[in-house]
Symmetry: D2
Subunit: 340 residues, 4 copies
């Protein structure tokens, strides 16, 4: 079936599988000491502009958020996030499981407003009893957000500045970073992200890999004995080559960016189709997710022909539905959508 449900319902980019097969019988040490992991780290480091950068691989997004947040924050600190942020809502309490409070602040279309963050933090420190509260030690944002929106470079820099004034780290969840970087509206490169954020991850799972996320630590902020901390959280892969090989492939010949751009090209066509059809728009975004409002009849009629995601109830008669593209979206699928 033709599906725009999400960006993780097909396998992996064929180059990734090809590479796994080519290297299958090579003997490689476990736990990330293999050659592919080393190579992938170097390539990502270079793509980030080099310098004082450390790269580590983890399996999935929630796991990455939990590992990064709980190893970087101090005992008395918590993390600020938009109320729609993945860590605020959709991680089954993984951050809290690691003992850390998520401080949710209302956002707009998935984005934290720098002024709101500043006001919250200023207010926090103006409270004489703030030591009875969790001390904010990090700001978490997603780029693109869970709603497909993008921070501009100026916004992200502004957040970084607010963070650094208050001894907080800026952490960027890049589960779909490839789609953000290759958006027609993007005004940031990967190097920019590496320069602005203290720590971020380059998502693989939703950008063509079977699994895997690459965490990038800047400014020497990678925790000591990080492998021990990863294993402590059940997150260390014995066959680390599975992650290394995939990211080595994604960062060879710009594959990661090519994948990202393809999904964006397809998403732009989806937006055109949505407009052509006159569907009620909830949110059209510069990345790979588009949101429209369907009534029950539309849900049924369109749903017979193409798959989409029921995002959330909207009002009594309508539902927000999501159309997502990915590395795997084909022109045929776009045509099928056009003919719905």
């Amino acid at each position: 079936m033709i599906s725009f449900d999400c960006d993780y319902n097909k396998g992996a980019h064929p180059e990734i599988l090809k590479r796994l097969i080519e290297t299958n019988y090579e003997v490689q040490p476990g736990y990330g000491f293999d050659d592919y992991t080393q190579s992938a780290k170097e390539k990502i480091k270079e793509a980030c502009g080099g310098g004082d950068i450390d790269v580590e691989f983890l399996v999935g997004g929630t796991q990455t958020n939990m590992v990064v947040i709980s190893t970087l924050l101090k005992d008395y600190q918590g993390v600020i996030a938009a109320d729609t942020g993945h860590v605020s809502v959709h991680e089954s309490g993984a951050i809290e499981y690691s003992g850390t409070k998520v401080i949710s602040i209302p956002g707009t279309d998935g984005k934290l407003n720098p002024a709101d963050v500043k006001a919250w933090v200023d207010n926090f420190y103006s409270d004489a009893t703030y030591e009875h509260m969790v001390i904010p030690g990090m700001v978490y944002i997603s780029q693109p957000t869970e709603l497909g929106t993008l921070y501009s470079k100026a916004e992200m820099e502004s957040l970084a500045e607010i963070c650094h004034e208050r001894d907080m780290l800026l952490y960027v969840d890049g589960a779909r970073l490839g789609y953000g970087l290759m958006s027609y509206e993007a005004d940031m490169t990967l190097e920019d992200v590496a320069r602005i954020a203290d720590v971020f991850y380059i998502g693989g799972t939703k950008v063509g890999a079977l699994c895997g996320e690459a965490v990038v630590f800047t400014g020497g902020c990678k925790p000591e004995f990080f492998m021990t901390s990863i294993k402590k959280r059940g997150a260390l892969l014995a066959k680390g080559r599975l992650l290394g090989s995939q990211f080595d492939t994604l960062f060879t010949d710009n594959l990661y960016f090519i994948i990202g751009r393809h999904a964006i090209d397809m998403a732009e066509k989806v937006k055109e189709i949505i407009k052509e059809k006159g569907w009620d728009i909830y949110l059209l975004t510069p990345t790979n997710q588009q949101f429209v409002l369907f009534d029950e009849k539309q849900m049924e009629e369109v749903g017979e022909k193409v798959g989409f995601d029921r995002w959330a109830p909207y009002d009594e008669s309508r539902t927000v539905v999501r159309f997502a593209t990915s590395w795997a979206t084909t022109e045929d699928e776009i045509e099928a959508l056009r003919k719905v």
Copy 2:
């Protein structure tokens, strides 16, 4: 290089990769709701003899131990394990990270002696102040153990009986279960394990998969909202098909057992070679890991030709080294070892 270092230093059994490629473009829902996961669950259930069995997939061994132990135990309970058990030593404190105490009891060649467990538990409950201690709620064993040894059916049944008398669960870590079941000395089938243990896992990572472990809950002991608890621990894979497809393949046409037997056949040859060469024996086992004592000269000379694992220091002049076979060990490699 020819390597007997461990059973996870090559990729995956070719059938597993083949299947990933064949199904790569199929649209499948995420989080384990895909067809392969469903099919794999059914096949494993059948291989376990059917009945009141639930199967769930996780990514790695330490993660599986942490998820299973921490979701099945009650707040006031801890888990008994051999002092050499993986959970006692080699998980970077993952069980403790989940808030649970591992109560380590001395074992013999990696095995818990049922009489020792009984004595420990009897002594525990004879202490008037036992409510000031962690209440034992589970016994953890590995089959085969970390040292390659095997519990007999009678021993495992005896442990199960002791557990059930004291309201404890018997949990079997089967990271290398395939090698245990297909040992020439095995007196247990997978059905037996499913009948005797309350919960166990069928290891994939070390038995031919890229990653993945299949947890088998018997007697309806699978926790409610288990997926939520998995995600809470950062252990839920978005592309669950990666696990489902691999286990579906492993449990098609007995592949899991064929892999296990192959490694055992190779291990028997390794044992012969060890004896022929007159190497000092530390422990020869009925499964895929053999342990010998090498002095520095042997380490160097043999090490130039084949890979093995430095297991542990033994005495001033000698080191325990491990020779492991796997699904990927070839006759050529055996011959190379013979010619060392």
Copy 3:
């Protein structure tokens, strides 16, 4: 100095100290097995109307919230609270430290609106992906709230009904319960609270004790091996008699209620004085805390004569300040306030 800062800045009610001295040399077993603890449990049980009630003593409020919430909730559950709730804001992340997410919902003057809770929960279960989120397992309210306001019996019953329809427990934080029960506007007795809530605590620290809170479990919901779970959280007192004796005293001859009424009588006078003086009112409440708005000049002038608490910044020129009464507030102090 005359102080209306808070309700925990003097020692303990003299009867409590008297009793500690009288019983000081009696030999009593530790850990809550002493006669006073047993007697206090019986008296509280009786005051709650008897029936299927268990009483346990803990040392402080945050500790009590953490112990109760984390032992009653299941692994996959979280707790709903008002955004101003003590567990949401002022516990330094203690609930999250125990691995549990606090789901904060906007309240009004410190109170959760039953309709808002119902809407939130209905919306939660209408989301097809709710298993990726923390499942609500409890509603936490404070009676009186952190802002001194009170739930009516009808409101609390309504919350209980919503809870029970959705398999949630209703938990009432009664840090200042005595002041709530003895308010002139109270329409609930302690028996009512015990009938409506699933679990609650009767605050001692802020109602005349040196320390101590009495947790009341109804309907047999006290967790098994609760003492073990208490100790696991570092919350078990060796000399449990310190808690038992204080609550035995508080529940002898209605002392707890007499203390509560005294503070309310004093608070009513404080409200009169506030009105007489024409101070800007932020919130006058039916319990022992009153909130007014002071500018810098008022802060200084009044502050020279009586103590009050700087609650929170209000606008550019004014601050919310709190005047609290307690068991220890004297008529002389009231007169001093009047003369400010």
Copy 4:
């Protein structure tokens, strides 16, 4: 009844209660900002020889161990303790609840042998895969131990040296430190302990207080935002004066040491009586706990006249029983024991 059961079955030293009463109506800020807490900190600092010392108060021993260990250790570290150590056995898993593994090493009569610790750590770091294990970050000892034995100054210095060579902290659980310091065999002063240990606590609960332990951090090792971390663990007392006042009293006119010496004087008499009576000796110690072996008849006959503690089963016919003295043991009680 005359009781030698334990050192926490009477109330508090009368001076402590007297002081509570005298200061009862004074207005003092909460959370340890009161004058008594400040004064107590200064007095303890002075008693420790001054210098770079920070003092903080907590409520009980298990809580103190949990707070200190979990705030001082890094994410990847664990704590080494004797297998009989309080943290190894009798804390219901509190250290593990805070996410930290206790690495238990066999001790002798409750004491860790420095050579054994050194051998364990050397062996740990000789393992090429040590990053898959919890990294030892602290050595925990009790002075006196749970069995009443004492480390000599040389032994404690030796442990400190081993710790510092391996980047570990030496932590001394002084639940009964007063009895250790005032033992006739003591070769260490409080200043010595403060000089040798990195962190330790001066026990109040078992040395005459109602509750309370004073943690002493040396060399600036007190964690930042420690109050926030205390509250996060539910361990912050609102009326901190309860702890401050007690320790201020204990460290006025040497009361803490006088109490300690009194219990030791009484314990020496108990030892004499044990020898006179020819009771089978399990362990006579230089501190306030003595252990003998009673058969059932002795248990019954002696138990009719004086209380003692059933410590542990010994052999088929005998039980280890404990006779403890305390600040509250009287000459009359000693005489009663003599006449048993």
